[in-house]
Amino acid sequence: MTFLRTESLTKKFDGLCAVDHVTFEVLPGIILGLIGPNGSGKTTLFNLITGFSQITEGQVYFDDRPIGGLPAHTIAEMGIARTFQLVRVFQSMTVMENMMLGFKGHVGEAPWKAIRRGQQYVQQDAKALAKAYDLLDVVGLRQAANERAENLPYAEQKMAEIARTMMGDPRLIMLDEPASGIAPTLVNGLLDYIRRLRDQQGKTIVIIEHDMRVIMNLCDRIVALDHGAKICEGSPGEVSRDPSVIEAYLGGG
């Protein structure tokens, strides 16, 4: 059984082919890096897999089930969580409200249960709260729990966003440039956190990142894109020596 697999995944915008017949596979428990120059289709590929963009052609399989064409929330519900290139924490809400919103399957999401507040509601609330505090401890944001997200520095908002995706117990976490906009001194902490997700919790992670240093010492496997097409796949060592990757990045003919 394959964990996540794309098959000839394609996205066309009018004449432009943003993602061009990309086929790759993600094995469970690894960190897979998605690299490529600007405009090579990395984020579009993310959007196709997570249902935020309509697939033109091809299919995505999660646990061998085709998920292409399902609405974004259904895919998220199945266990694929994502973050966005530009941070997407809810600005008017506190960090804790954001965290609580990441909790999945709360009965209080139905209005009548929210009004009634039965025993199950109270129990789930307590469970979500405890979990949120645990996750905030890990990223060092416990003290900021009751702070509105808009008042936090950008780096902390990014950490909160990643912590929030963890509230839903995802099996696959897709991070779109998590280190961008974060001070270099803080990046190591972030990378440690991502590694711990893999090593201690067995999460699978797909990460888009521009910083080669980050990618090379974090990822188990790398897929390189250029002009929407996959040009290379392999271990960090293999990819960094691949002539097509070097050319795409250094801009040959």
Partner: protein, 311 residues
Amino acid sequence: MGYSFLLIHLATLVAIYGILSISLNLIMGVTGLFDMGHAAFFGVGAYTTAILMTQLNVPWVFSIAISCALAGLVAWLTGIPTLKLRGDYFAVVTMAVGEIARSVFRNWMEVTRGPLGIPNIPHAEFLGVTFTPGIPFLGLACVFLAMMLFLSQRLIFSPFGRILKGIRDDEGAGVEALGKDSYRHKMQVFVIGSGMAGLAGSLFATHIGYVDPSTFTLWLTNFILLIIILGGKGNSIGAVVATALFVFLREGVRFLGLPTSIAAPLQQWIFGLLLILAMLFAPRGIVPERTDRWRPAPAPPPGPSVQEGGR
């Protein structure tokens, strides 16, 4: 005597419009859906009650319940095509729905009696008690206001409410990424809010005893919109406070003894001035939106917990 009766009448209006403000606040203040046709649902509630009670002799309790349900049903039907639209398109379409409702009230002579309106709507009566205009009906309206306030607070400060605020903060994409169906939740709050508006409309019909199409216009929607912005978007209590302020201001101007040609524009002036003052000095409104607070964080566990991140 005259003045106290007037005061009671105004207080009753505050309670009724308060419910209307709470309901639009759920839809617009909390969820960020720019509903410009809210007066239509108020009108559906008022007309339903008027017709049921005068023409079909339906008891009040059932009339108010049916009014509520029918407003919700109309909202559901409106929501199916419109709630998939982005913000500004939604505003345009709901505005059209408001206009359609108004012209139905005005032109469906056989049922609504058109511009003549429906007079002689009986008083609310329940378990043998008749809620005559004055203190009895004011009490009834206040009971409903309290109920709706309670309901809205429970909704806002719950997982359901947090999804709504999430939808407001970034057009739904963010909550979708967390596995929440934004369309479904928009629909739920739209139906609940509109049903609540229907309830307010029903109370309005029995309070005034007469309905005609001139009440349910875009003007009313704007009036409530203004109340929400001034009261504090997303805060139900703010909505009620601002309702009281506006209703008393609006009616107060009428009793200054000024000729209509001056009093009417003066009203608009005052509202405009208030809005500007609010934007300058209280951009979040008189009673700003409150975030949900949990009891102070339990003391952090000793030592770095990083290593035990849960395996």
